[in-house]
């Protein structure tokens, strides 16, 4: 299946580990394979960045946020394909930044032309 992710930064405090990557890993395991396409703001997940800093709320340190780049690495290690749209990178000034190892940069329509090759195409 092809899972398209274009909305990023959703519910750091509410979701923590239970985010689109967690669901994608489970779909990859259960349904025999998954490719993920990062576009829009989610394209920023494809390039290296520091891990999120912890928060202190009410004197309590919170450091259990989702770490998208680590989760992408987990997906890649599991054999999933991860692609990122060049336009998404360009929109965020990341044209010259190398994506994380294993992530393939594609043109905007490239994956759309391959939709018939997938049994399922969905947004996550």
């Amino acid at each position: 299946m092809l899972a398209i992710v274009e909305q990023a930064y959703r519910g750091a405090l509410e979701k923590q580990f239970f985010d689109c990557f967690c669901l994608a890993a489970e779909l990859h395991r259960q349904l025999g394979g998954l490719d993920m396409l990062l576009r829009g703001a989610a394209a920023t997940y494809a390039v290296p960045a520091p891990e999120p800093v912890s928060l202190i709320l009410g004197g309590r340190e919170l450091a259990t946020f989702s770490v998208p780049r680590t989760n992408l690495g987990t997906l890649l290690d599991a054999g999933a394909g991860v692609f990122v749209e060049r336009e998404g990178l360009a929109e965020h000034g990341l044209t010259d930044v190398e994506p994380i190892d294993g992530i393939t940069v594609v043109e905007g329509q490239e994956l759309a032309r391959r939709w018939p090759d997938y049994r399922t195409v969905c947004f996550l």
């Binding site: 959703r10 519910g11 750091a12 580990f17 239970f18 709320l57 009410g58 919170l62 259990t64």
Partner: protein, 135 residues
């Protein structure tokens, strides 16, 4: 005789639904920064934001199969911690209609549920009001 509301410097009306974006994270970071500067803050949760303080959420989220021993605090636990740490400076209200409309009827004891018809009283009890998110 109706008990008057405690005066605060700022009322944050939180309408943004959780899980959709980082509105809640931004709001709680803002609340903490305001508290750290000595500001008295009240929060009125509206719409799906009323779901954040349900007691049914417990202390922690369901376990993460990929990290079984890690505890992930629930939003109710996070908000309860903030309220306990700032008893005279932070107050949390919930819109009773929105909450009932979404089947959420059992909230933290520290959370005061209020009818929407009384919202203006909360506004009047605050120096300024800031509305965050949409219903």
């Amino acid at each position: 005789m109706r008990k008057s509301l405690p005066q605060t410097d700022l009322l944050l009306t939180l309408m943004g639904a959780p899980h959709a974006d980082d509105t809640l994270t931004d709001t709680l970071r803002l609340v903490q920064a305001l508290l750290d500067s000595g500001t008295r803050v009240s929060v009125w949760a509206c719409g799906y934001a009323t779901l954040l303080t349900q007691r049914a959420l417990g202390e922690c989220k369901p376990r993460n199969p990929a990290s079984w021993d890690t505890e992930y605090p629930s939003t109710a636990a996070i908000i309860a911690t903030m309220l306990a740490a700032h008893p005279e400076h932070l107050y949390w209200y919930g819109c009773r209609f929105c909450s009932d409309d979404r089947g959420a009827d059992d909230h933290l004891a520290e959370v005061v549920m209020r009818p929407p018809a009384r919202y203006a009283e909360n506004v009047a009890a605050a120096g300024k009001t800031l509305v965050i998110g949409v219903m």
